[in-house]
């Protein structure tokens, strides 16, 4: 048997072994993206889905014009950015703290590590409903407990109030309460993701680095800033990129916590609201295309700088 025909046979076999995977990805990822581009360029309402209007060749940029000229678009985009950057940074910061705490050997460490991952494992519907309940101004344990013990003068509607005016020693401060709460939730739910990656990286730093530094008289804090932190730069920036992409496109959490009320409307919720609030599938697809554009940009950055989270 010639080498060539052996290669040929291997290629054919590989093709058939990978064909089901390709078919699934093609049908449920690639085709939908192309199909989405098509719909985003057409006037399609929720009522048109059954008819042939979907296939008529009447393309225009109307949907995009509608999306971009919406008076709230700038606000929604700004909210999305604040939510995304705030949520990403907070989850990575908490993940870093948790990883540093659990890094050293001690009794109960494995248990703690397991516990720390729970927010990420639990179904999103369960944890959002639980947090909504805890933070509820009337029935919520947090507000009641704080009021009973004199920590708050009145309950705070964490998830339903747009602005909260604080007066800290005569200095007035206005914080976007609901958005702030949603970001805190984001930090709580996704810190385990950062935690696991940072912990894995921490454990890969050779002990000799620390020994050498100790011998040279470096104190623990110096060792952290001069050895640990530089070793974590790559994993921290990769994590930021991933968290940014996923938080930017996150629908479930905000939808379940606030439905986009009280100044928490982010772009992914616009996708839903256009489709099922205004029955405008075209505008909904156009918004999804905007999200896709941002995603494509970030995937480009990812491959351009060759950052890799594994392998």
């Amino acid at each position: 048997m010639s080498v060539n025909s052996k290669h040929h046979r291997e290629s054919r076999l590989a093709f058939w072994m990978l064909a089901p995977t390709f078919a699934v990805v093609l049908a449920f990822v690639i085709v939908p993206v192309i199909w989405n581009l098509w719909i985003s360029l057409k006037p399609v309402s929720l009522a048109d889905l059954r008819g042939d209007a979907l296939f008529q060749f009447n393309l225009s940029f109307e949907n995009f014009q509608k999306v971009f000229s919406d008076p709230d678009f700038d606000t929604v985009l700004l909210t999305t950015l604040v939510y995304t950057i705030g949520g990403s940074l907070l989850s990575i910061f908490l993940g870093l703290m948790a990883a540093l705490l659990v890094h050293a050997e001690f009794r109960g460490r494995a248990l703690l590590r397991g516990l720390f991952i729970a927010p990420y494992i639990a179904p999103v519907v369960a944890v959002t409903f639980t947090w909504s309940f805890i933070l509820d101004p009337q029935l919520g344990v947090f507000n009641q407990f704080a009021v009973d013990h004199g920590l708050l003068t009145q309950p705070i509607p964490f998830l339903s109030q747009r602005w909260l005016d604080l007066d800290i020693m005569g200095v007035g401060l206005r914080i976007p309460m609901a958005l702030f709460s949603v970001i805190l939730f984001e930090g709580w739910r996704y810190f385990p993701f950062a935690f696991l990656f940072i912990l894995a990286r921490l454990q890969a730093i050779p002990d000799e680095f620390y020994h050498a530094a100790s011998v040279d008289g470096a104190t623990p804090f110096q060792r952290f800033f001069h050895i640990t932190l530089p070793q974590l730069v790559t994993v921290l920036s990769t994590l930021f990129l991933f968290r940014f992409i996923w938080t930017f496109n996150k629908f479930d959490d905000v939808f379940l916590l606030t439905r986009g009320q009280a100044g928490t409307k982010v772009l992914p919720l616009d996708v839903y609201d256009y489709a099922f609030g205004e029955f405008n599938i075209g505008a909904s697809s156009a918004t999804a295309m905007v999200l896709f554009g941002v995603l494509a940009l970030f995937i480009f950055i990812y491959f351009r700088w060759g950052m890799r989270i594994d392998d």
Binding site: V24, A27, P123, Q144, L295
Partner: protein, 282 residues
């Protein structure tokens, strides 16, 4: 006191405080979910700030209501069906595909790895509207089997990628011996690769199960008929209809959370490995 010793004691204090802080913020919501599901509505209304649970007043009626009056038995079965079928399909196709990628030579191998990574980053919200439109048009959107295919597309690329990384570490000698002894490629996968890859297969299975079990967006958008609801979809439905009864919503939340957390506790080791090899997303 030297600076070294001072910093050491500061770090000790920070560590204890930090661990307590994390333990409380992580565990409390789960504790509260369980406690509230066992406490009658009047109790919650009268004394919302009571942190403890009175064991003499434990009330299991919410679980009974949720399971029998609100259809949750059905939702549990649906969720199990969706998750188990997704796991079976994803595992099978990823094993065969992962074998092809690591053991057979063909053009476009590196292209494969890149496309998998790109799909890994792909968010559901970008795909949900076009898929909604296609399946509505064809008239089978409201179907649990369509949901399974969507979940398969979400999990398969990453499952394949994880198994690929693992297969690469397996020694080739046994496989070659198998091939020389007349095993087919599929025979090698069945008799040699699968037994050697049990830990990796376990973590892929868990990861896939978790994605399918927890998924909300597609289940929410696609399913209209209550008989077809998955648990996540059912909890949202319940929360919308019994707005005030926090006890029922918390009981339903416990039902959807407990299986996945227990599974996770039993197999924690595999899950952690799976996640750091790129298994998780969201």
């Amino acid at each position: 006191m030297t600076r070294e010793a001072l910093e050491r004691s500061i770090i000790r204090l920070i560590r204890i405080a930090g661990i307590l802080f994390f333990a409380v913020i992580v565990a409390f919501p789960f504790y509260w979910m369980i406690v509230s599901s066992l406490r009658p509505l009047e109790e919650i209304l009268m004394n919302p700030a009571n942190l403890g649970l009175d064991f003499r007043k434990i009330d299991l009626s919410a679980y009974y209501d949720v399971l029998f009056d609100h259809g949750f038995i059905r939702y549990i079965l649906n969720s199990l069906y969706v998750s188990i079928i997704t796991v079976a399909l994803s595992l099978t196709l990823a094993t065969v595909g992962g074998y092809a990628v690591t053991r057979l030579r063909f053009r476009g191998q590196s292209f494969m790895s890149y496309s998998i990574l790109i799909i890994y980053m792909f968010p559901a919200i970008v795909l949900v509207i076009p898929l909604y439109v296609i399946f509505s048009h064809m008239g089978f959107r409201d179907s649990i089997n369509v949901l399974i295919l969507v979940y398969l597309a979400q999990t398969l690329p990453v499952a394949l990628y994880m198994l690929r990384s693992y297969f690469k570490t397996l020694p080739l000698e046994m496989e070659n011996a198998g091939l020389i002894d007349g095993c087919s490629r599929f025979g090698v996968i069945w008799r040699i690769i699968i037994p050697l890859s049990a830990p990796a297969l376990a973590s892929v299975a868990l990861y896939t199960f978790m994605i399918a079990w927890n998924e909300f967006l597609f289940a929410f958008m696609f399913l209209d008929t209550p008989d077809k609801f998955t648990l996540s979809r059912g909890v949202v439905q319940l929360a919308g209809s019994v707005h005030l009864s926090k006890q029922l919503v918390m009981a339903a939340s416990v039902l959807v959370t407990l299986p996945i957390l227990l599974l996770f506790l039993f197999f924690e080791r595999y899950l952690v490995r799976g996640m750091t090899s790129g298994a998780m997303k969201g």
